[in-house]
């Protein structure tokens, strides 16, 4: 069965090559990429069952003697995350086939979308299966590279603006990762995770602490943990809806997975769990306060994404079996639900032309099905019983109470408050976008735009005086352009009057979204077995002898 382990990486890469060759035949491209993802789905499901029954599966690639080659390892945690991420990618792929990915200014479908998407899936799968730190670095690069391309699809002004920040931040974090790798290699002479877990324990405490801080910083940038989360809410909303959905679901979770893996396997008796808990607290609170202030639902969701990363980091910081169980369950829940919400927003954008609550209104009457599709995952994200969001939060809160330190109690309180504020932010968006009449929305939008400046030519106003100093008005001009570029000028009422909206939603898009919401509801029904599985995975994580012996059968430590 070890032959299954590399398939989740190899199949999408193979599919990427094939779809690239078939760039002129979009229909064949669709079929190929869907088939590839279905095959990976079957493989991942088999792996979950197999790994749960008989322990970690290990494959040394290239036939080198054991500690030298590249190891791919599937244990309970990685198999589960692999399965969930493939389910989510499949839903997003079907959604984007329905949408017919096009650039913003042309109707020609983008032929690069499918190959890049498959490369992204391969990168994510490789990250989950990586058995050594350098392979983890390479898989980060694979998925990041695909994400650079997907984020700047079409090369419009706003995407280039957001993309340049995203690319620079991630290149910087990759360089930092390399520094960390160099330091780890210099200190231990190995990059294999299983070997490292023995060797790092023998290092002096200060050296191990330095290595841990380096790796934590890198993964915190990827996972968007406060204060390293600044890049996320700005870059995700500009991307096309399916891209934003798959990023929100998968990319940050890969960072969370890397934190879980290194914290448990490499630095089990970490002196930094207090720091991690503080980071979790700030991530939750700052993230959700950002979300409350937003008027665009896409941006709002990007901030809730940051905020809910805090829950997973909370579980990791507790460093108990219950904490890790809660974190793993929450990761699974959050991947599905956040992706589903972004897909729903894609539907809203497609049907009503905007995702800004200032411009939307009356969606509940206009498109009732969107109301249901938005309401269920929104309530799930906010943690309304009995849905999986509630169960995940209860698991984490229970774990926090069992630890019982003052900081853990503070975090329990903060997580309840964050949950309530999430509910507030989402309910506000729900009320404004779905229950006002479009006419009311039009009134408000008009009132607001009275105060909005008209774009004026830069001619006579070359300079702006600010308390004695003079700024070129190009700055101000650019500030306006950034804003006006993000939002369209017409609201829903005007669009309805102009009859410029599509009459119906494509069934494929609705089907993919509804399917993913169905999966998230199934998580609620299957919460018992899933919690059991997460518990076993957490036990494996904290007692990593099984992992180490499975990887290093020859006993070469």
């Amino acid at each position: 069965m070890t032959a299954l382990v590399p398939l989740p990486v190899v199949l999408p890469l193979f599919g990427a090559g094939v779809t690239l060759v078939l760039a002129r035949r979009p229909r064949v491209q669709h079929v190929v990429s869907t088939l590839v993802l279905v095959a990976v789905l079957v493989v991942a499901a088999t792996l979950v069952v197999q790994v749960d029954r008989s322990g970690p599966e290990v494959l040394w690639i290239g036939g080198w003697p054991e500690p030298l080659g590249i190891a791919l390892v599937a244990d309970r945690l990685s198999a589960l995350l692999l399965l969930v991420s493939v389910v989510v990618s499949l839903a997003v792929l079907v959604f984007s086939i329905g949408q017919g990915m096009t650039g913003d200014d042309s109707d020609a479908p983008l032929t690069t979308y499918h190959p890049t998407f498959l490369v992204l899936v391969a990168g994510v799968a490789n990250a989950f299966l990586a058995g050594d730190l350098f392979n983890l670095f390479v898989s980060f690069e694979i998925l990041l590279f695909a994400s650079y391309v997907l984020l700047t699809l079409g090369g419009t002004r706003s995407r280039i603006r957001a993309g340049s920040i995203y690319v620079v931040v991630n290149m910087l974090s990759s360089s930092l990762f390399l520094v960390g790798l160099a330091a780890v290699y210099a200190a231990t002479g190995s990059l294999n995770l299983a070997q490292l877990s023995g060797r790092l324990a023998q290092l002096p405490g200060s050296v191990a602490l330095l290595l841990q801080l380096l790796l934590l910083t890198v993964f915190a940038i990827k996972a968007a943990v406060f204060p390293l989360s600044f890049w996320l809410p700005d870059s995700y909303p500009t991307a096309p809806a399916p891209v934003a959905a798959v990023f929100a679901g998968l990319l940050t979770k890969v960072g969370v997975y890397a934190i879980i893996r290194t914290q448990t396997l490499l630095f089990p008796d970490s002196p930094l769990s207090g720091l991690v808990l503080w980071a979790a607290l700030l991530t939750m609170v700052v993230g959700i306060l950002g979300a409350v202030a937003q008027s665009d639902i896409k941006r709002l969701l990007s901030f809730t994404l940051v905020s809910h990363i805090g829950y997973m980091v909370f579980g990791i910081g507790l460093a108990t079996v219950a904490g890790y169980t809660g974190a793993i369950f929450y990761v699974v829940h959050h991947i599905t639900i956040q992706t589903a919400l972004f897909l729903v927003l894609g539907l809203v954008e497609h049907r009503a032309g905007s995702t800004s609550v200032i411009r939307l209104g009356g969606l509940a009457r206009l498109v009732p099905v969107l109301g249901v599709l938005f309401f269920v995952p929104a309530m799930n994200l906010a943690g309304i019983p009995p849905m999986s969001g509630f169960l995940g939060k209860v698991g984490l809160i229970e774990a926090g109470l069992r630890v019982g330190s003052p900081l853990a109690i503070v975090l329990v309180v903060a997580s309840v408050a964050t949950s309530l504020l999430t509910l507030y932010a989402l309910a506000k968006a729900w009320n404004l976008a779905f229950w006002r009449t479009p006419a009311e929305a039009h009134e408000t939008a008009r009132e607001l735009s009275v105060h909005q400046p008209q774009l004026q030519p830069a001619g006579p106003r070359d300079h702006v005086q600010v308390r004695g100093s003079v700024l070129p008005s190009r700055d101000l001009e650019e500030a306006r352009r950034v804003i006006s570029d993000e939002e369209s000028d017409v609201d829903l009422q005007q669009l309805i009057e102009m009859d410029a909206l599509p009459r119906r939603l494509p069934a494929t898009m609705v089907g993919a979204t509804a399917g993913l919401i169905g999966v998230s509801l199934a998580l609620t029904v299957l919460a018992g077995p899933l919690f059991g599985y997460a518990h076993r995975a957490a036990v494996d994580l904290l007692d990593h002898r099984q992992y180490v012996t499975a990887v290093l059968r020859g006993g070469s430590r």
Binding site: V138, F145, R161, A162, V167, V168, S175, A186, H451, S469
Partner: protein, 145 residues
């Protein structure tokens, strides 16, 4: 373990210059900074590989072999760096096509705050010199910008 001071110094200078360039606003400068940073980090990796030795080929001589693994890793990193550099270069060019310059632009929140401040909606720290072509501005400052 003894390390090579030349390599360490080279890496330090490269990374120092890179940080300076990364703080610039122009994407082209940021790009050069990232290239320098990548090279500096790669040199750092060579330092991590330990003292130099003969080529790591079995039976090609006697004496200490140098560690081949970090060199393989650095090669991978160089290839990845090449790809990202090319992508960023294309993006800087696209940004120049769209806006006429390649400065990294403000994000939406920054732009909103700056606009609100300039429009006196939320702050009184900005004051627009309305419709006066540099008239009531101090002469030399008006020219300077």
């Amino acid at each position: 373990m003894s390390s090579n001071a030349t390599l360490i110094l080279t890496a330090a200078v490269a990374i120092g210059c890179a940080v300076y360039l990364l703080l610039e606003r122009s994407l082209a400068r940021v790009l050069i900074g990232l290239v320098l940073l990548g090279n500096g980090v790669n040199i750092l990796f060579l330092v991590a590989s330990g003292p130099a030795g003969r080529a790591p080929i079995l039976g090609a001589g006697t004496g200490r072999m140098s560690d081949p693994l970090p060199q393989a890793l650095v090669l991978t990193a160089i290839v990845i760096g090449l790809g990202t550099t090319a992508f960023l270069l294309a993006m800087a060019y696209r940004s120049w096509q769209l806006t006429g310059h390649d400065d990294v632009q403000d994000d939406v929140e920054d732009a909103a705050i700056r606009r609100l401040a300039a429009e006196d909606e939320a702050s009184d720290s900005f004051d627009l010199a309305h419709d006066v072509p540099g008239g009531d501005l101090p002469e030399e400052e008006g020219r300077a910008t």
